[in-house]
Amino acid sequence: MTNEHDSRCSDDVAAYALGALERGEASELEAHLEDCERCRSELRWLAPALQVLPDSVERMEPPQQLRDSVMAEVRAGAKREQATSGSRQRAGWLSRIRIGSLSWRPIAGLAAVALAVVAVAGYEIGSDSGNGGGGSQDSIVTREDSGLVATMVPEGDGGRLELANVRQLPKDRVLEAWVQRGGEVEAVPALFVPDHEGRASTTIADMEGVETVMVTSEPEGGSKAPTSNPLVTMPIPE
């Protein structure tokens, strides 16, 4: 497909809306959409038709026990949230994930990952804020082959992860950050998306003991475990 709009475009837009294009075709169409207003407006026009498709299925009553178990998990999560908020203890609401059988790039192989720590800027925190004992912590910057630049700015016990030059994501994808401590990879709960200038940021509540910070693209709503290769792999010096 070229940047020129042609008659095949509209057919591709409909197939794309239904999630029926092959992966490569979908990203081609996404590139085309950036240049083609006709296709963009076609997609906007079709959207409501997609949104009503779920209403066309036969309605079933969900079992009461499903509601009970969803609400039990939610209430347990809310309790943990209350118990940990405002305290300095390790954030218990981070979902713990074992690497186990996941198709996650083995941490031992990190040396093979093309990345360069290009700058370690002196970053003072807590020196006049009365934090006490904070000393100086450094921002960590990595630059990936893709051109994506990631900066970790320490904030209290945690840090703010700032990304630049992030490619636009398909509408149904989000960014999810992960921290790795020992043998465990944990999801960072705050999912995020890039803005129009390719900037994105999220906050990691607890950086204690973190050896690596990673970011992947995940289906909206996030995943319990990474499902794609990392866009960012940032080793955290001790």
């Binding site: 057919d11 591709d12 009503v52 969803v70 999560g77 289906p219």
Partner: protein, 193 residues
């Protein structure tokens, strides 16, 4: 019923989201009660078995609970966001069962079938009215158009898989998808006018 719950019930979905983002279980419960039914029905339609449909629904609601703070209202309604999470997870489920062909119901009657409504809130009644209009719309599509839409949306098949299944050229499959969606869209526009 708590006062908080009563209050939450008066809020629109988009107003519930900031509360859900702050981890308010009452707000979440109201959201579940509004959309648990359609979410579960959609999941069941895709995965074809109760236990798997429950898993998918639970996962989708929990992920919304975990990431509610990131909801971006410029991307559409919370309801359609939620349902696209359900749809994507259900399709993932289907695909992960390697070797097991997805269950597909081509029974148009099942789609057209309408259940007697009982104790519906106004909101719900309106939604079902829309739903029956859509069932009508899907049902009124020529069979070859509704079939490709169902295979893609509920079956998670790509256009080339569908072309192979039906023994028709790729371009034909895509063309039918477009004609079908445009027709549904047209009916919606008429219904709203």
């Amino acid at each position: 019923m708590t006062i908080r719950r009563e209050k939450a019930e008066r809020l629109a979905d988009e107003e519930l989201m900031p509360l859900i983002g702050e981890k308010d279980p009452e707000a979440f419960e109201v959201f579940y009660d509004r959309h648990g039914g359609v979410a579960y029905s959609l999941a069941y339609r895709i995965v074809g078995e109760r236990a798997a449909a429950e898993d998918v629904t639970q996962e989708a609601f929990i992920s919304l609970w975990r990431s509610g703070a990131r909801f971006d209202s410029t991307r559409g309604s919370v309801r359609s966001w939620m349902l696209s999470i359900v749809r994507n997870r259900a399709i993932d489920q289907l695909r992960s069962k390697a070797g097991k062909a997805p269950k597909l119901a081509f029974d148009d009657d099942a789609i057209l079938e309408q259940r007697p409504s009982e104790e519906l809130t106004d909101d719900e009644a309106m939604r079902r009215e829309t739903a029956s209009a859509v069932r009508g719309a899907l049902g009124q599509l020529p069979g070859d158009q509704s079939k490709v839409i169902e295979l893609a949306y509920f079956g998670g098949f790509s256009h080339s898989e569908i072309a192979r299944m039906l023994g028709v050229p790729l371009g034909t499959v895509k063309g039918r998808m477009r004609l079908g969606l445009e027709k549904i869209r047209g009916e919606l526009a008429e219904g709203l006018a």
